[in-house]
Amino acid sequence: MTAHLKFDEPDTRNRLDDMTQGVIGQPLNRPEGLMKVTGTAPYAAEYPIDGCLEGVLVTAPFAKGQITQIDAASVCDMPGIVDIINDPRMTSRAAQGTADEAPQQEIRKVDYFGQPIALIVAESFEQARDASKQLHIEYDADDLSDTHFDPATVDTETYEEPTIQGDLEHAMASAAHSVDLIYTTEGHASAAMEPHAAIAQWDGETLTVHASLQMLNYNISELADSLDLEENQVRLISRYVGGGFGSKLGVSQEVVAASIAAMKLNKPVRVVMSRQQVFQCIMRRSETRQRIRLAADKEVRLCGFGHEARVSNLPGEEFAEPVTQASEFLYAGENRILQIELARIHRMTAGSVRAPGEAVGMQALEAAMDELAEKAGIDPVELRLRNIPETHPTDNLPYSSRKLAECLRQGADSFGWKKGSRTPRQQREGEWWIGTGMASAARIHNVSEAKARVSLLDDGTALVETDMTDIGTGTYAVLNQTAGEMLGLSQDKVLVELGDTRFPRGPGSGGSWGASSTASAVFLACEAIQKEIAHRLNCETGDLSFKDGTVTVGDKSHDLHKIIGNEPIIAEGHFEPGKTEDDFAAASFGSFFAEVAVNRWTGETRVRRMTGAFGFGRVLNAKTARSQCLGGMTWCIGSALTESLLFDPNDGHLVNCDLAEYHVPVHRDVPDLDVILVEERDPAASPVQAKGVGELGICGGAGAIANAIYNACGARLYSFPMTPDRVLAAMADT
């Protein structure tokens, strides 16, 4: 059976709420959790495969030019060396998310420092690593005076169609209150804890690759295209992925290199990137320069809204950090300019890092909103509440469910937000200035085509299969609970199998679309199974009640496994986005409230507490959803205070290419974080009324911290991260 739905109308039935199992939304432990906490969950590089050779990538020690010779003879006599691969099909860059085709493959043409140029294959990792340091290569490096590393020094191109509406200049000139501010943010790394890794096996007909990837349905096309294979000759497996955050959206260099080596040598080959390689040749989030103009009338209602950003990428890349994404829909203002300028420079590929666009766009916007509130003399929460538009400010579309106001109010209440005067420097404890700040959260809602198979087996348990991945997001849990709710099964009666291209395909994990899209496919499959059961019991689906393996019609109960009989009932759910995407402006919303302490002598900032309130449609599992929010808020602390990719201005290399020098938040940087999940159903978002939550928690929170720093010590900062040197420089002496 196949159940297909093109999502042309909102699903207001809220079917999951009619079910009786009571498992959907519950804060259950993750079904795969015991495997993770006992170290028995296998990640990509950890499959025991006999005779597996070890590959180590060799990378370019210069930023731009041509490799002229790779001298295999320089290492081929070293112990254990099997081969030196520099096949032209090897990929020099990772694919962008949803690319669906091979990324750049000219590995001899070097476009950034650290680009892979060859693969050493040896019997052991130690042998391959040693040879990778000894391999002699010759190259013609371009003159550095012709190679641009700094986006400020090159001409830019306008990315896609800007939004230009009304007359912003006039609105600014005639505004009762206005701000015109420039912010900068530095580049970010995803820095997922598991480095990119692959084990490739070739049996002469089929290439099987265990890889650490987020979007198998796209990755299989990207890999097949890279190797001139048909998709049916490739199988990708990613059952456990040690974090992604965008860095594993597209097929990466080690996957293709391992595959080429395995096919050439007819032996399994494992390639794991070093941490430095992950930093140097996987996606960065672009640095940004953002000009924000806000014009408001006497009532402090926005009449002008400008958000213009300059971002960068390598030549040939289509991606530009969509900095203004939430600015399109979040606040009012009929006179608008939203524009992105793209600078072509020779830093590694810029691509998606958790919440591309909003992660850096929202923190700047929310800092600017704070300054506008101060200028206009109103409470920052009130300013946001006053500027929630009736309809989308450009498209005039209605919003789907939107809980921004509820999030602002509930967040403020829970945090204990004090309305009224926001004069800085009102509280000091010893050498620490104490202050508070707030921000809105917003992240666009996406869904994508997804398929999943649900099999109701003769023992009364259910099996869910899809190529969707769980990158820490809770996919195993939420698909289990979706099927369990629909079929009346407890968590232990549903098995979810993920991350294998042999299963029905879906969109994978990215853009916060995985859970709502794939859960919708599971939901559709379960509806088809319900229908089949109703047919067998000669009744309507609505007459059935499913609970704990029993189906009840009226006052009569049936054991589920007896209805199933000897043959499993199998249905494939196929969810396809439709007109609802065009009919509504859909997004997840929230609010952040932060309290910080700023050291008056050193400029060091400590986040003392933080509250986030979030509305993202139906909560599928309150425990994993809360964890997603906690993770996002933790990223806000990094983005606000410490995270910054630093490039050498002379030769373009990434200076801080490891976890000692690129500072992600550690335990002691993170206070107790309070998360409020605001009750919501969004029937226009997906058939399960859910939106995305994986990224919402990072969209704006760094702005709340910036605003709290100002409130604490009077330092307005326009450069993220707000490191002690920057805070100190912006702080008045007394």
Binding site: R30, G39, T40, G243, R626, S627, T634, V666, H667
Partner: protein, 165 residues
């Protein structure tokens, strides 16, 4: 020879093999994770003779006669340790990759508190340190979690620490 989770194993012949790579490749104990290979992330934390170390920063051949405990030696899916169970209950992990290191680290940290070792978060060096949240966070700061599960990790450790008292 080296003892790993109670089993005696021969040391590798290649002196370049780190203790981490020995565990993952030679001993097939992949619960110990490689996150950075430079002692920066803590994913490879194990206990050697009861003391936590980054197994990527030491060579296997340096551990002749030593006794190693890895995540696999603390508990199993059928019989998890109290801390493993607490991590499960508090969702003290997301992707799971830093998790074995966090759990090994926290397990050894309890012993360090029992031995009254002070830390940067200890106010009074003359008094036995208490496992306050600040102590937990300071002592666990060598274990990075990019998913940002810190709040839940601390909650899990706090629960077991209270149970232990």
């Amino acid at each position: 020879m080296i003892t790993v989770n109670g089993s005696s194993l021969p040391l590798p012949s290649d002196p370049r093999t780190t203790l981490l790579d020995f565990l993952r490749h030679d001993a097939h104990l992949t619960g110990t994770k490689k996150g950075c290979d430079h002692g920066q992330c803590g994913a490879c934390t194990i206990m050697v003779n009861g003391i936590r170390i980054n197994s990527c920063l030491t060579l296997a051949v340096m551990h002749d006669g030593d006794s190693v405990t890895t995540i696999e030696g603390l508990g199993t899916p059928i019989d998890p340790s109290p801390l493993q169970q607490a991590f499960l209950d508090h969702d003290g992990y997301q992707c799971g990759y830093c998790t074995p290191g966090q759990i090994c680290s926290a397990t050894a940290m309890f012993d360090e508190i029992a031995l009254e070792w002070p830390s940067d978060a200890t106010d009074d060096l003359m008094e036995a340190p208490q496992l306050t949240d600040e102590e937990i966070k300071e002592r666990m700061s060598g274990n990075l979690c990019r998913c940002g599960a810190y709040v839940n990790i601390v909650a899990a450790i706090r629960e077991v620490s209270k149970g232990g008292q």
